[in-house]
């Protein structure tokens, strides 16, 4: 059984349709790419999965349970974590405190009432180390480079120990070497048993890391398959050329 099923989801903004009967499924323990031109509905899709955007119609099924009406925070507790395309780091806090907040929230009421920091410092350092931004630990999150902030969001999401991790353009802002290291990290996470869905523009990264790829255009899935299959799909080429008329 797939971990996540996006089932015939429609999202309309006023007169514009952002998601048009989108459907796809994700297997546990895989890295899946979600690609498509700007405005194809990728971020909207993430918002619907995490519960930030109620769909006009359709269902989100996680692990066999319909979570369409479940509020954001409960989905998080069910194991959905994410990063954002437009950064949502807590700018007023330091990088370390960003992760600390995530740990506190994850621990729930117990975490909020806990008086001593205890082992949290170690855990934070480990998480920052893992994504490679430990040197920024004491800087305010709104003053670090974009790439660092993205990795911070990843560390923060990991603090909640998610089963399903949604990454929205995680590599933008990273240089070539960093991107490479990031690709390695992703595979590591997958081997740990985490499932990853990633929106990404860096095709090299997508093609090298993903097990499976969905192509979204005008809010609908127009193609899918392994990286090799997708690369050779004529529809995908059209969509990326922006030849809208032909694509439809």
């Amino acid at each position: 059984m797939s971990l996540l099923r996006v089932d015939d989801v429609v999202v309309q903004f006023g007169g514009v349709t952002a998601l048009n009967h989108a459907r796809f499924e994700i297997e546990a323990g895989t890295v899946t790419g979600l690609i498509g031109p700007n405005g194809a509905g990728k971020t909207t899709c993430f918002n619907v999965i995490t519960g930030l955007q109620p769909p006009t119609s359709g269902r989100i099924v996680l692990d066999g349970h319909d979570v369409t009406r479940m509020p954001v925070h409960r989905r998080s507790r069910k194991g959905i974590g994410r990063t954002f395309q437009r950064l949502e780091a807590f700018g007023s806090l330091t990088v370390a405190d960003n992760v600390r907040v995530a740990l506190d929230i994850h621990d729930g009421l117990k975490g909020l009432l806990r008086l001593v920091n205890g082992s949290a410092d170690l855990e934070i350092a480990a998480l920052l180390q893992r994504v490679g931004i430990l040197e920024y630990a004491d800087e305010r999150a709104d003053s670090v480079p974009t790439g660092v902030a993205r990795l911070l969001e990843l560390a923060r999401a990991l603090a909640c120990d998610p089963r399903l991790l949604l990454l929205d353009e995680p590599s933008s802002g990273l240089d070539e070497a960093e991107t490479k290291a990031f690709g390695v990290l992703l595979r590591e996470l997958a081997t740990e048993g985490r499932t990853i869905l990633m929106v990404e523009h860096d095709m090299d990264l997508v093609m090298s890391v993903c097990d499976h790829i969905y192509v979204l255009d005008f809010g609908a899935v127009i193609a899918q398959g392994t990286p090799a299959e997708v690369r050779n799909d004529p529809l995908v080429r059209l969509a990326y050329l922006g030849d809208v008329e032909v694509a439809q």
Partner: protein
């Protein structure tokens, strides 16, 4: 039957005026996501402008109408959009609320400054000619024209939105301006147009209502609450539903006067029908999605260590102690008032500064505290504590109905709540019955009396210090960190698993509790309090003052409290610029609204700058990297 028809016709007239005002509100909100609390104030100012043109300067009425509606109002609308509220749609809701409240207060100040209070009359269109329908049903031409104009407005808006390209763009930008940009729209142009039209509609509503309301600064401004309620039925985005809401509300109000009992306990109900309407809709609205958008770190006021804070607190207490020796009774009362306000502002530091939620009812919570304290007649710590708990419970009660909604709706709920309390509860027999004052005794602490004003003011300073230290302790702790995180990004804390709803209720309760303490202390200071002490408008001024001086720091609260106390004194000392002071405050809020750390933070920065200048050596040696090293070591050991 005649009576029924009459009530209906009057209701339709009222509804038509609401509809015009509300449609302007919807237009500006839906295109720019800025909810313009000042919409009514805009209408008020243009009613004055129209009066000035047509009555004072003698311009023909039709010409004055055209000049105002086609030229002046749209120009002002574009100015507001381009300069005052620019890009606020992407800012947190709290910021746009503060800025528009700033515009509201500024406009009231402007109107009182330019058009000094005096009797003015604006004749209705076509004078007092009456149209008789049957024996007993009479309407005026003015009413007919208002209804016709609302229809015309509806028609024109329909054509604009449904039949023009720019209209389609407007509708698309409702939910997703980015999407609009992708499809080749120009959001800035669309926004300007929306504000031009919206402002013109506010002006039209103001002008149409003036002959009925009179040229009143506050009445015209607050009328918009009815418009909010109507617009809410259309979730602030649907024009047809807004019209339905406006008409329904107008007729409901008219019937209420006609058929509800006019005296007795529930008589006050009639005055709050728009408010109840608003509450009902808020409760029925579906779950609102969390806001996603890039928000940079807002809170940058330094957080003092508890030790440092305690030494400052000691300094403050010594200072107040000196004041109590040196000042006269009347000046001490002012110091006490300033301390009251400062404590209320501390409640905003927690709620708005840390949590990012805006409340337009903090004085109302203080009023609850004052009433509870007076009624309990338990002038000691227990009495204050109970008063605070009651206020906290009321605060939670306000937040619960709007549990599922976002910050904007929460703020509007507080506004509705403040109105309800003003009209229905504070005047009730268990509070300020028939406007009569309530008396209260000054509290004693563990048997020690604080009867002289000097000693009581010192006690208030002590309370301020205790609450301030608590606020600082919260900020330094886990809860404070989570609050700041929530303020910076609600979407992110949501996806990390935080249930915002109950945090919000708790935060509201805590904040209302602090305000309740202030109210209880205030009642003791004054000996008598009246409902007027806690009216709704005060809460707006409080919010602005808090934002201007800095809503993220205790220092800001203290300074804000002092200036809030000084504002009416200054207005009384310099009556010729009384309005200007409001304008100044409004402008300050517009400028500083985006930077909630306020003037207090500027103060910190300048003092830090001095320190850096004076002792560069120390600054250099400050082991900024030391701690980081430590962390790295820790990591390495793992």
């Amino acid at each position: 039957m005649d009576a029924f028809i009459s009530y209906t016709l009057i209701g339709i007239f009222t509804g038509a005026a609401y509809a015009i005002a509300a449609s302007g509100l919807v237009l500006t909100y839906s295109t720019t996501r800025v909810f313009n609390i000042a919409h009514g104030a805009v209408g008020m100012v243009f009613a004055f402008v129209y009066w000035d043109f047509s009555q004072r300067q003698g311009m023909p009425e039709w010409l004055a109408l055209i000049v105002v509606l086609i030229l002046v109002a749209p120009a002002a609308g574009v100015f507001m959009q381009r300069v005052l509220v620019r890009d606020l749609g992407n800012a947190p809701v709290g910021v746009s609320l503060v800025v528009t409240v700033g515009i509201l207060v500024g406009l009231i100040g402007l109107a009182t400054q330019v058009w000094k209070p005096a009797g003015r009359s604006a004749p209705p269109f076509f004078g007092q000619h009456l149209i008789k329908l049957g024996d007993n049903v009479v309407i005026t031409w003015h009413q007919v024209i208002t209804v016709i104009l609302s229809g015309v407005v509806a028609g024109l808006l329909y054509l604009l939105l449904a039949k023009t390209r720019v209209g389609t763009a407007m509708r698309a930008s409702v939910d997703n301006p980015d999407l609009l940009k992708l499809y080749g729209g120009r959001p800035q142009l669309v926004a300007s147009l929306a504000w031009a039209v919206g402002t013109s509609l506010a002006a039209l509503a103001g002008i149409l209502l003036t002959p009925v309301i009179g040229l009143q600064y506050y009445d015209l401004t607050l009328l918009v609450i009815s418009a909010y309620s109507a617009a809410m039925l259309g979730k602030l985005t649907s024009l047809p539903m807004t019209y339905v809401g406006a008409m329904g509300l107008g007729i409901l109000q008219s019937y209420a006067i006609g058929y509800l009992p006019s005296a007795g306990d529930i008589a006050g109900l009639r005055a709050v029908i728009p408010t109840l309407f608003l509450f009902a809709i808020l409760i029925l609205l579906p779950q609102a999605p969390l806001r996603i958008g890039q928000v940079k770190g807002l809170v940058s006021a330094p957080v003092p260590s508890l030790k440092k804070a305690a030494s400052w607190a000691g300094g403050l207490l010594v200072f107040v102690a000196l004041l109590t020796k040196g000042l006269s009774e009347s000046d001490l009362l002012l110091v006490g008032t300033a301390l009251t306000y400062a404590i209320v502002m501390l409640s905003l530091v927690l709620l708005t500064g840390f949590g990012g939620f805006v409340s337009l009812a903090q004085f109302t919570f203080a009023g609850v505290g004052a009433v509870a304290y007076s009624k309990l007649d338990q002038p000691d710590l227990l009495g204050v504590l109970l008063a605070s708990l009651i206020a906290a419970a009321v605060g939670a009660l306000v937040a619960i109905p709007v549990l599922r909604l976002t910050g904007l709706y929460l703020a509007l709920a507080t506004l509705a709540f403040a109105q309800l309390m003003d009209k229905l509860v504070f005047g009730a027999s268990f509070a300020y019955k028939e406007g009569a004052p309530l008396t209260a005794k000054r509290m004693s602490v563990l048997g020690i009396e604080f009867n002289s004003t000097g000693s009581y003011v010192f006690l208030m300073a002590l309370c301020f210090v205790v609450v301030a230290l608590l606020v600082i302790a919260v900020r330094r702790g886990r809860v404070g960190r989570v609050l700041i995180a929530m303020r910076d990004s609600q979407a992110a804390v949501g996806t990390l698993g935080l249930d915002l709803r109950w945090v919000r209720v708790g935060l509201f309760a805590a904040s209302a509790g602090i305000a309740g303490v202030a109210g209880a202390l205030f009642a003791g200071l004054r000996g008598t309090t009246v409902a007027m002490d806690f009216i709704f408008f005060q809460s707006l001024v409080l919010l602005l003052m808090a934002v201007v001086w800095g809503v993220t720091s205790v220092t800001g609260a203290l300074l804000g409290g002092a200036f809030l106390m000084y504002l009416p004194v200054a207005q009384s000392d310099h009556p010729s610029i009384a309005g200007l002071l409001f304008v100044l405050l409004g402008v300050g809020a517009v400028i500083l609204g985006r930077e909630p750390n306020g003037l207090a933070n500027k103060l910190f920065q300048s003092s830090r700058w001095v320190i850096d200048k004076v002792t560069p050596q120390v600054a250099k040696r400050l082991p900024a990297g030391a701690h980081k090293e430590g962390v790295r070591d820790v990591a390495a050991t793992r």
